[in-house]
Symmetry: C2
Subunit: 453 residues, 2 copies
Amino acid sequence: MTYEKKQMISDLKPLLEQSSLEAVGALVADLHPADIADIIESLTENEKRLLFQALDARTASEVVVELSDFSRDQVLEGIHTQRLADIVDDMPSDEATDFIAELPAGQAAEVLRRIDLEDTEDVRTLLQYDEDSAGGIMQLELLSARVDQTVQDAIDAIRQAKDEAEDIYNVFVVDAQNRLMGTLPIFKLLLEKPDVVIESIFEPCPLIIKANEDQETVAHKFRHYDLVSAPVVDDDGHLLGRITIDDVMEVLEEETREDLLRMAGASSEEDMFYSNQIFRISRLRLPWLLTNMFGGLVTGYILWLFKLTVPEAVTLMSFVPVIMSMGGNVGIQSSTIMVRGFAVGAVNPSNILKMLFKEIRVAAVIGCTCGLAVGLLAQLWHGSYKLGVVVGFSMLGAIMSAALTGTIFPALFKRIGVDPAISSGPFVTTANDIIGVLIYFGIAAIFYRLLLW
Amino acid sequence: MTYEKKQMISDLKPLLEQSSLEAVGALVADLHPADIADIIESLTENEKRLLFQALDARTASEVVVELSDFSRDQVLEGIHTQRLADIVDDMPSDEATDFIAELPAGQAAEVLRRIDLEDTEDVRTLLQYDEDSAGGIMQLELLSARVDQTVQDAIDAIRQAKDEAEDIYNVFVVDAQNRLMGTLPIFKLLLEKPDVVIESIFEPCPLIIKANEDQETVAHKFRHYDLVSAPVVDDDGHLLGRITIDDVMEVLEEETREDLLRMAGASSEEDMFYSNQIFRISRLRLPWLLTNMFGGLVTGYILWLFKLTVPEAVTLMSFVPVIMSMGGNVGIQSSTIMVRGFAVGAVNPSNILKMLFKEIRVAAVIGCTCGLAVGLLAQLWHGSYKLGVVVGFSMLGAIMSAALTGTIFPALFKRIGVDPAISSGPFVTTANDIIGVLIYFGIAAIFYRLLLW
């Protein structure tokens, strides 16, 4: 695929330079829309616009939804409103809605005026739902059949709808009031006689989604039941639309991305790959860094206070970096495993204590290993048995406490309804820096003062 | 759902205590296998085994593949081989193969002897493929029709296969030598007359997978084309099996999990939620921590050396934690964004310089902000204008260099074929600790020595 793409791009470039749009259109005619989008991403701004112009409205509508925000803005800049309306007309209702929602208000109104009346109504309906709800990701195009209809009726409905609805795997079965009764896999229709009544062959739906449910909850349920499509209903059970697996995958990918960025203390709002708004990105990242900076200053202040009370302070200080960074890393390991466990549903209130206990035991093993190593090294380096003991035990203590905070913080955050991903990264690291240094100097204070006196 | 589950568990517990297996079976009869698996996860070891015993072989086969490794081992412990064979008999070929591959060799052979001959052959065929290849995740159950057959022939084939193959969305079209020609969505069969020849209505496949392709490559292509199933062929184009969207989602989830754990310096091998092998987990995590420890010790050694040359060392040292931890965090932010960008294919050789440039500019903004803040604070705290300048510029330098290493390391790792996720976390942090401290002391050395002399 990669080779073909390179070839295709080098074939396209001269044609685009000559603005031979017809030849360009012919060249990409057999490509999958996702591949055309992929090619567009690799072109210059001007080439992108030319290639997009060369596409017919149907293809353009399939390509534009695959583009990055960055490239989409480029190909749509200065586009004629009628062309935009033609493109939107060919989109499924959910994509048309998302697309229109991102247009400037004036342009959106103009496009809505020019597309089919039915599509306009669909878009207006979908715009009512919160974009993070099931209603916000569902599409209105679906196949339904009344429970008292026959197999032949259902087949006729499919014949009528075949240009509108894509990816049809099921017919949803409803009663006379459009209330959802169940589902009927398409292949079952093939096996039944035309006059069989649907009532006798439909199946219950393993999952029925309410329009106001949160999209992430919906995505996890979808995964739980391994579905490819599911019906969305209102509070009274009336069939509204359907959600398909590709919507769900987008939600799950978005969620993973958010978690990862939050754990790194970058923001999930950061449009990370294409955005060039340097100040906006900086502002999104700064809050975490300032938390972190505060923690670093507190740690430094403790160092400073300590210097005043213990004469061996400088020798001891040369082990501060290793104790701090080990605590930080162990904390991140524990919290990553907790956050991931919550995200996939593998950690829950019933096994949280078991997880904690496991992490503590792992930390004990790691802490003894690292404590012994660094303690021996300290003893050899400075020739002080006491220093070795202090550094070694501090390492053990810092690692154990880091594993504890790394496990407990995500659990606490989860408990109070905050995304546990936030607690990993800067937050846990900062807490562990401070705790680690306190443990170190606490132990040092005991050994160097109490034992010296 | 959660409420129902709690209710169900409290209804089940007394029945399980009395070992009323029939009543248990009746209670869970209407539940989805995924829900039964979910309930089993919340039970005690003995209850798990009893509930699993109460299931018929078909349901048990659907439940067992949804269980965690931990619970699966528990319910299968001491199970009769014939019961095991019955359960495997009801699984699709890909799941049966994975399942048998995990059994002890003797038990696997015994199960293979007892299941249907056809299933045995399927499993033996699938066991030949690398478990990380397309062949390793494909299933053999599929619908195919010869290109010279009619719609009615295809429908008859579906009728015959309906108990074997699940989730049928397409019929794969082959020639007389079983070489893949294309695909035919099931709903199209409904709309055609029975005597239409398939040749005139089939479509090309957007994606044809080779059996020896890497599963992650396959998963990304699947996502790229938004498919729900795709055919797998051998090197000569013969149809071997198919891969469905649920296989793909598992691969993608596994990949995300691996990336995340690698970034935290935990190993992807760590069976993180259920494993109780404390020493094994510790051994998997230790290599990263020891790298980190080495870095911490080097940083400490630099501190120690520095103490000997500059009298103000102790005052300067109290700012070491804040400079180290800021550098570490900025580095993690940059590398997370790079790693994520590579993972979703949004960062590639063509825009890598743009990414680098963007991160540098963001770091400049962040560095100036934090440098100014911490520099002012240092000046106010210790009343030394010089100290403020040294600390402020060091912060700027540490943040800029951290953004650089955070961006360049993942790119270098990617270039030499190592998973960039490894470079994030401990590796980048350790490098940044050392570089940050060197920058700090370098600047301090210039100001405190050169200016004092």
